[in-house]
């Protein structure tokens, strides 16, 4: 009884919010709202369907994320996808990535997951190669492919070697492989969730990709790495726990380096890409805690980052359409030109940093608490990390908002498609924390 009253109150709060922000029609608000409620109002638990597919709460979250990210992806590339490049298969590539993502999140066996995982990156390669913007996309797409391929061959060998054991994802199955092969199992995912040392493909890919590619990449594909770590970690807990410290150190130090690198970037897309590295390093530290709070903090970080980064890339695209450049020195003066955009920039920059009441704040707190279980004094280093996060977030906002704009003599409007996209990202980030108590994950 009390539960349902609380839930109703939360729904009402969300509804009020929608009424307040009357940027557009209530119909659009209801679409997002109802879809959101479908996923987050009820706890479906873990379930099998179709005889072959398995979905648990984490997969469910990521399914929601992938669907939302693809909606935004298609919103953002309406011109490119449906008019210019239709016959060349732009939409086909995007839809197939979507399809493969859905299968990978509900897949039951390692093998199916691996196939989908690798095929997705093949499609991203095609996407980047065919529809990127500049000649450097050749190098970028090759970086993606080779970073993926080099680490996935040992993974394939691993699967083939331990054939009888591994064709199931029953995650309560602990097996002590006392060899060093476990490392190759995780290296695949650590490259995807870019850990600092092997992250080079990410800035290059983001800079060269069109906006849909960036949104998909930052929104969901990095989470595939996290998902893989989550799924496979219960399998190899013993070996992982001994080497956990190295992963933590790489996550922390890499995150701090990437924070400073963010401050020195000239290309705004590379800035957001490095902030992805920072966040994923943080999420990795959370995931490797393997405690109640750490795991959930890592999962929430993946989700929050998905919405935040994909919206930042979309905002950059909105500016790119107007300024025709991604450079820090050219995109300036939004505060005067298009103040609504500066509002959304502000919102997403501060959600990137981790400011309550956004979902990223909760994820950071949970990771902090999870790390306390490992070592109290190390978790205090996160303070330093969080402050640096604040630095680049505010820097990004300020560099875009202030300054002399080069486009002073035209009026710029924000069309409804862009509003919808930005609002659609804003909405889950604000309201998932309210409904997270409905879930046990």
């Amino acid at each position: 009884m009390v539960f349902s009253v609380c839930v109703l109150m939360k729904c009402f709060l969300v509804f009020l919010f929608g009424l307040l922000f009357g940027f557009f029609d209530l119909r659009y608000f209801f679409t997002f709202f109802v879809f959101f409620l479908l996923f987050f109002l009820f706890d479906f638990g873990s379930f099998w369907f179709g005889g072959v597919f398995f979905c648990d709460r984490f997969s469910f979250f990521l399914l929601y994320l992938s669907v939302m990210v693809f909606v935004f992806c298609f919103f953002s590339s309406l011109i490119e996808g449906w008019t210019k490049n239709y016959l060349l298969g732009f939409n086909f590539v995007l839809f197939s990535i979507f399809f493969l993502l859905l299968i990978s999140f509900v897949s039951f066996s390692f093998f199916v997951f691996y196939i989908c995982f690798e095929l997705i990156f093949m499609f991203i390669f095609i996407f980047l190669f065919l529809w990127g913007y500049s000649p450097e996309r050749v190098q970028a797409s090759f970086y993606i492919v080779f970073y993926t391929m080099v680490v996935s061959f040992p993974f394939l060998i691993y699967i083939v070697m331990f054939e009888g054991v591994l064709f199931s994802l029953k995650f309560l199955f602990f097996h002590n492989f006392s060899s060093y092969w476990w490392f190759f199992l995780f290296l695949v995912f650590l490259v995807k969730l870019p850990v600092y040392g092997i992250h080079l493909w990410l800035p290059k890919a983001h800079v060269e990709a069109p906006v849909s590619g960036s949104i998909v990449l930052a929104g969901v594909l990095l989470k595939l790495g996290g998902y893989g770590v989550f799924r496979f970690s219960s399998f190899l807990l013993g070996s992982l726990l001994s080497y956990r410290g190295y992963i933590f150190s790489v996550g922390l130090v890499g995150g701090i380096f990437s924070c400073f690198l963010c401050l020195r970037q000239v290309d705004l897309k590379a800035l957001v890409a490095y902030s992805s590295v920072v966040h994923m390093g943080f999420g990795l530290r959370g995931l490797f805690c393997f405690s109640f709070f750490g795991l959930r903090g890592g999962v929430y970080m993946l989700l929050a980052h998905g919405f935040c980064s994909s919206c930042l890339f979309y905002l950059l695209y909105v500016l790119y359409e107007r300024f025709h450049s991604r450079s820090l020195f050219i995109i300036k003066g939004i505060g005067i030109l298009v103040p609504v955009l500066s509002f959304f920039w502000f919102i997403f920059c501060i959600f990137n940093i981790g400011v309550p009441p956004s979902f990223s704040f909760f994820s950071e707190v949970f990771i902090l608490v999870g790390l306390r279980g490992i070592s109290f004094y190390t978790s205090l280093f996160i303070g330093f990390f969080l402050f640096l996060s604040g630095l680049y977030g505010i820097f990004m906002y300020v560099s875009v908002r202030h300054g002399d704009s080069i486009l002073m003599d035209q009026k710029y409007y924000v069309v409804i498609r862009e509003y919808l996209n930005m609002y659609g990202h804003f909405f889950p980030l604000l309201f998932i924390p309210l409904f997270i108590s409905n879930f046990y994950l």
Binding site: I198, G383, L391
Partner: protein
């Protein structure tokens, strides 16, 4: 005063500011307090950069980064709430209190701009003047003090001499800087800083109720002072440099309110400021050592001195502005100021009755004597200020912590991260290293014979599979 561009955005920002303060003050759950705390920092940042200007941008960045440091400390104190098991403040046990207190304390210190983190308060005067009057007199800076006062039982063991010296130092330093500053709004902001130092000094002495009273009372007259300063600046067409001010005493409205608020600030008998300040001095007489007590009295001297410096600079010197001059004061704004003025004049007794009479604190003759001595002493010292000016100038300006540019740091880390690691080592083990290796290998193979590299690779892979399996 702000009937100009973008008043809608301004109203929304002020609304969010007040809303964040509301959340901070009225929430029992630490999450909501955190929402309010973070929101305060960010909304004040938005307000400071309200006008797009490079000076204001710099001030805004100083503000938000100092606030971010405080936010980080508060965030880290979440750990202790998790350890404790409950997010409400009521269940803080004393076992966990020690480290927890340190974190909250440091967080609160940044918000109220004490010595290590005091650079942002004078910088934040770049906000529009109504914002300054709201923010820097009453709300933002009292957020940290509020946290300390409300949960003072947790901090009660934290009182020791080291901290008292720290806060006294803030008070003295700020007082000294107010004596030598040129910019009028900055003087008022620095006076807020000094009064805050006093407030926290009182908390660390132990009289948290008195400090709360002083905080509330200070808000009243400081707000009035800011409003009058704002209207004066408006009369001078935005000129804040006090070297151009002088002899404005023909605008009687501003004159009265300004002087009254300065008198309150200095603790003139039976104005509002007297009721808190003299009690504070009284309670300090008997619970501090001699040295600290005299340092505190010197701080109060400074208060009197800079407030009178303010009055003299604005109203009593030779006229220094442009020769042909016409001004008017908008009567609409006078209503608020008159309300504040009446409060300053009349409400002292009310505050005494509500807060202090239950604690059996009475006036004594000693009180009054000390107060009057301070006041007159301050006045006299002010007239002798000319002789001390250069000494104070050098001493205080250097002590005032400026925020240095961080280009050096980011350059260093760029070098470390990008050049040494990313540009070189990670590339060597990653993409371009392997590419170069393969490329050179291919060239080498091709120089050896006519065999294509593909066949060699296939043979190599097959052999390795054979070796692995058998």
């Amino acid at each position: 005063m702000e009937g100009t561009v973008d008043s809608r955005r301004f109203s929304w920002l002020v609304f969010f500011f007040v809303f964040s303060m509301f959340l901070l003050v009225f929430s029992g759950n630490f999450f909501l307090t955190m929402v309010g705390w973070d929101g305060l920092g960010l909304v004040s940042f938005c307000l400071v950069i309200f006008y797009s200007n490079s000076v204001r941008l710099e001030s805004g960045l100083v503000t938000v980064f100092s606030n971010r440091v405080g936010d980080v400390f508060f965030l880290l104190s979440f750990l202790f709430f998790f350890i404790n098991g409950s997010f409400t403040w009521d269940f803080c046990s004393f076992g966990l209190a020690y480290m927890f207190v340190i974190f909250i304390f440091f967080g609160a210190i940044t918000k109220r701009a004490q010595v290590p983190f005091s650079a942002w308060l004078p910088a934040a005067i770049a906000a529009p003047t109504p914002v300054s009057s709201l923010v820097h007199s009453s709300t933002l800076v009292t957020a940290g003090v509020y946290v300390l006062i409300r949960y003072n039982y947790v901090f009660s063991f934290f009182i020791n001499n080291f901290l008292k010296v720290f806060f006294l130092f803030t008070m003295l330093m700020a007082g000294g800087c107010a004596l030598v500053e040129r910019d009028l709004k900055k003087i008022v902001a620095i006076s807020t800083l000094s009064q805050l130092g006093m407030i926290i000094f009182i908390i660390s002495v132990g009289a948290w109720l008195l400090s709360f009273l002083h905080m509330v009372i200070h808000a009243f007259f400081k707000r009035m002072l800011f409003l009058r300063t704002g209207s004066l600046i408006g009369q001078m067409a935005g000129l804040q440099d006090s070297r151009f001010w002088g002899n404005r005493s023909f605008c009687y409205g501003s004159f009265i309110f300004f002087v009254v608020s300065c008198l309150c600030l200095s603790g003139f008998p039976f104005f509002l400021g007297f009721y808190s300040k003299d009690f504070i001095i009284f309670s300090c007489s008997f619970s501090l050592g001699i040295f600290m007590y005299f340092a505190f009295l010197i701080g109060c001297f400074f208060t009197v001195m800079y407030s009178f410096r303010l009055i003299f600079n604005v109203y009593f010197l030779m006229y220094k502005y442009i020769s042909y001059y016409n001004f008017s004061e908008n009567m609409k704004f006078f209503i608020f100021v008159i309300m504040l003025f009446l409060k300053c004049w009349v409400l002292g007794g009310l505050f005494y009755w509500v807060f202090l009479s239950e604690m059996n604190i009475f006036f004594s003759f000693f009180d009054l004597v000390v107060g009057i001595v301070l006041f007159l002493g301050g006045l006299l010292t002010f007239f002798m200020l000319k002789f001390l000016y250069s000494f104070i100038f050098r001493f205080c300006f250097i002590l005032f912590l400026r925020w240095k540019r961080s280009r050096g740091t980011s350059f260093f880390f760029n070098y470390l991260g990008h050049v040494r690691f990313e540009g070189t080592w990670i590339e060597v083990f990653g993409g371009s290293g392997i590419y170069t290796m393969i490329f050179n290998f291919n060239k080498y193979i091709n120089t050896l014979s006519g065999i294509s590299i593909g066949i060699i690779l296939v043979v190599f892979v097959l052999r390795s599979f054979y070796l692995v399996y058998f």
